[in-house]
């Protein structure tokens, strides 16, 4: 059966038959462009997919050189095909196939297929020229002193952004494909000799074993690449839209996946403490880096735990608060209709609502949310006595802190609510219980024998030194940290 199907979609001996088969394979698709001509009396045809191939490149690299072959001595179809496919350098990106299905797949990626009468093979030339976004500044990972280039949606562009920064032959770029319908190209990048070969093999195995119909975003791959079972709060697969970050991670021995159609690269594995590092750290003085990293850790603590601790302390353990603060709190709470716990829940849900609105709404009305959120809802809620002023300060501080660690924004939002619920219902007992659960969850996460919580849990002296400070370039010259060093020497199985 499979053989019959292959015969049906094989390159036929005649151009007409081949084009008919191709049209049939594509169901008469409107974006199939074909052009035929005679060269030295031999019939040839060129097929492309509209919008995927560049008309200029096609003309300059394929059609014109082929037209020039008209004056050559090649008179038979076989010799002409041999000249086109083997002896002339029309373009460097050239593939031969006898399968129309494979030819179609390449045409969807911007190749032009050339069929020659009498030949049962097609030559495909890479003349990609689809519309694409220019290389822009990353939208979610801003920096001051580093590169301002971010990944785009086009895989080839992204590969070139990485290759331009890593001119070493040990940089391996392996092309894979996932998604039975989308046929999404995926590029696995790693540094040979530095990346763990077992990790690379495992990643390839998992991607090849994917049975997804569509792979449209990098996030769709994550669950298939992660090691753990059940709900994991954190992911050992990091993502970035910065080519310089990708290069730094490659140099640390990690593997990176670039996915066509997604401006986010996946870093395998990623660690918890890396969310607190920025590209600017490499350009700043060590003492400033130390300060900033401490600030980022405090910001994470504030964003996640502070509202929960506040509710727990005010409701269950008021002895923790000073008398003045307690009196102020009691005075402001006396004028509000809801309990502190309910108020905190309402305002936190409102905050998430505004964050979601500001992400989804058109940019043109962006300022409207600031006015509505900041002035109308916030000010009016306090004046009307629905929400107390201290609470608004707490939530404002929390919201600001949550923007400091964009890499953990999803976890921050969810955990904040969990801590408020725990603190509001059970005080510090609830906070402790939730903390233990989160700690166990994070500590159980890991990839390729490298725990997500490394180098803290398990503790590594060398790795831990980089958590708050950064090593000087001179120190890096002496020895580079490689991710496999953080692997547990005597690990545990689940």
């Amino acid at each position: 059966m499979a053989e019959k199907k292959n015969d049906r979609y094989a390159v036929a001996g005649t151009v007409n038959e081949t084009l008919d088969r191709l049209k049939k394979l594509l169901g008469g698709s409107a974006d199939l462009n074909t052009a035929d001509a005679e060269i030295n009396g031999v019939r040839c045809a060129v097929a492309t997919i509209e919008g995927m191939a560049s008309a200029q490149l096609l003309s300059e690299l394929v059609l014109r050189p082929m037209a020039e072959l008209a004056g050559s001595e090649e008179q038979t179809p076989q010799s002409l095909f041999s000249l086109i496919s083997e002896r002339s350098l029309l373009t460097a990106d050239r593939t031969l196939t006898s399968s129309l299905e494979q030819a179609a797949e390449l045409m969807f990626s911007g190749f032009a297929a050339v069929f020659v009468e009498g030949s049962q093979q097609a030559v495909l030339f890479g003349v990609q020229g689809y519309e694409k976004k220019a290389v822009n500044e990353p939208t979610g990972e801003h920096n001051v002193m580093g590169s301002q280039e971010g990944f785009t949606e086009v895989l080839r562009t992204n590969i070139s952004l990485v290759r331009r920064r890593m001119k070493t032959p040990s940089l391996r770029l392996e092309q894979l494909r996932a998604g039975s319908r989308t046929g999404t190209d995926i590029c696995l990048a790693y540094l040979a000799g530095r990346a763990d070969s077992a990790l690379v093999t495992e990643l390839k195995r998992r991607i090849k074993g994917l049975e997804l119909d569509t792979v449209l975003t990098s996030g769709m791959l994550k669950p298939y690449l992660e090691d753990g079972e059940g709900v994991r709060l954190f992911s050992e697969i990091g993502s970035t839209e910065r080519p310089d970050v990708v290069c730094a991670r490659l140099n640390e021995g990690r593997a990176v996946l670039l996915i066509d159609g997604s401006p986010f690269a996946l870093i395998c594995p990623s660690l918890f403490v890396e969310s607190f590092r920025t590209v600017d750290d490499a350009c700043s003085k060590p003492y400033f880096v130390l300060l900033m990293r401490v600030v980022r850790f405090i910001a994470f603590f504030f964003a996640v735990m502070f509202p929960g601790i506040y509710v727990a302390a005010a409701n269950f353990h008021p002895e923790a608060l000073s008398l003045k603060l307690l009196l102020n709190l009691a005075a402001s709470e006396s004028s509000t209709p809801y309990s502190l716990f309910v108020e905190m829940l309402i305002i936190t849900v409102l905050l998430e609502l505004m964050k979601e609105a500001s992400v989804r709404m058109p940019k043109a009305v962006g300022s409207a949310i600031s006015i509505a959120g900041g002035l109308v809802i916030g000010d009016a809620a306090v004046k009307s006595g629905i929400i107390s002023s201290p609470l608004l300060i707490i939530v404002g501080l929390t919201a600001t802190a949550s923007f400091v660690i964009p890499g953990l924004s999803q976890q921050t939002s969810v955990l904040r609510l969990v801590y408020i619920l725990a603190g509001g219902t059970s005080g510090f007992f609830g906070i402790a219980v939730v903390s233990a659960m989160i700690m166990c969850n994070a500590a159980a996460t890991g990839m390729g024998g490298i725990p997500y919580t490394a180098p803290l849990l398990p503790f590594s002296r060398k790795g831990a030194a980089d958590i708050l400070s950064r090593r000087s370039p001179k120190a890096l010259e002496q020895s580079h940290t490689v991710i496999s060093e953080l692997s547990e020497r005597e690990g545990v199985s689940r």
Binding site: G230, F428, F459
Partner: protein, 280 residues
């Protein structure tokens, strides 16, 4: 299967000590006798663990029977620790926490932590023990100005009786001994792990007993001397904030419980014939 590190094994075991230390009280007024008994108990636990660990593993029906017995013991130990913790918490914070609710929440959370696997539990245990020791050190440092050596009551008679009572009390609450044996069989350096645990247990217990007795005197023999000691600490956050101790107390109890539940699950697998085979 990769083995545990000796630090991970010792940390999970020290969670039991750290969890118990918040309710620890000496059985007599002579501190040196009490410390000696606690140290002797740690040494006895170490020796028993080494002996049991050196015994050959049982197979067949005998192995299954031992697994079933051990699994039942682990579950019973978990229930004892759970109920003991809940009673003590209710004693400390009677107006907030009811025993059934606290027990239900803690049991559910413990099951969740155990379901994360041994790797999550032992790594978290390392962090929990380090944080607890730091907080206890801060508390002890804060209360050190009130330390009076005379309160150690070294001259009190009935030393033998005190020693025996303290030793029996320390051994009776050594629920963790079978878990230590089980973990030793999965640890790279089992003897060192057991020694590290025994030393840590002895040091932690002796240190807290000394500070409690030296600062609190006879009051240190009342219920929950560590919680009382916290209010004597000159460090503001420790002095004013009782619940800070509750945080670490709960954390250690929960992880210790998770270790017991993991062990019970492991034994159940042994009964069902799904136990992992140890590499020679």
């Amino acid at each position: 299967m990769k083995p545990l590190t000796m630090y991970q094994t010792a940390a999970l075991m020290l969670c039991f000590t750290a969890a118990h230390i918040f309710t620890l009280r000496p059985e007599g007024a002579n501190l040196v006798v009490c410390i000696g008994a606690e140290t002797a108990a740690a040494g006895i636990v170490f020796v028993i663990a080494i002996i049991i660990n050196s015994l050959p593993a049982l197979h067949g029906w005998a192995g299954k029977a031992v697994s079933a017995l051990a699994g039942t013991f682990f579950l019973a130990a978990f229930l004892f620790i759970l109920i003991g913790y809940c009673e003590e918490v209710q004693f400390s914070f009677p107006e907030f926490y009811s025993l059934p609710m606290t027990a239900a929440v803690l049991a559910a959370a413990t099951v969740y932590c155990a379901s994360m696997g041994l790797s999550g539990c032992v790594r978290s245990a390392c962090a929990a023990v380090v944080m607890t020791v730091i907080v206890l050190a801060v508390m002890s440092g804060g209360a050190a100005s009130g330390f009076d050596p005379d309160r150690l009551n070294l001259a009190v008679s009935d030393r033998e009786g005190q020693f025996t009572r303290q030793l029996i009390s320390a051994l009776a609450r050594s629920w963790e001994l079978p878990l230590l044996v089980l973990l030793m069989r999965r640890t790279g350096r089992p003897v060192r792990a057991a020694a590290l645990y025994a030393l840590g247990r002895a040091a932690l217990t002796a240190g807290i007993l000394t500070v409690c007795a030296g600062v609190l005197g006879s009051v240190g023999q009342e219920r929950q001397p560590v919680m009382m000691l916290a209010s004597f600490a000159k460090t503001v956050i420790v002095e004013r904030f009782d619940a800070l101790m509750l945080l670490f107390w709960t954390l250690c109890t929960l992880l210790a419980g998770a270790g017991l539940l993991w062990a019970a699950w492991h034994c159940l697998q042994g009964v069902m014939g799904k136990a992992e085979r140890r590499k020679a």
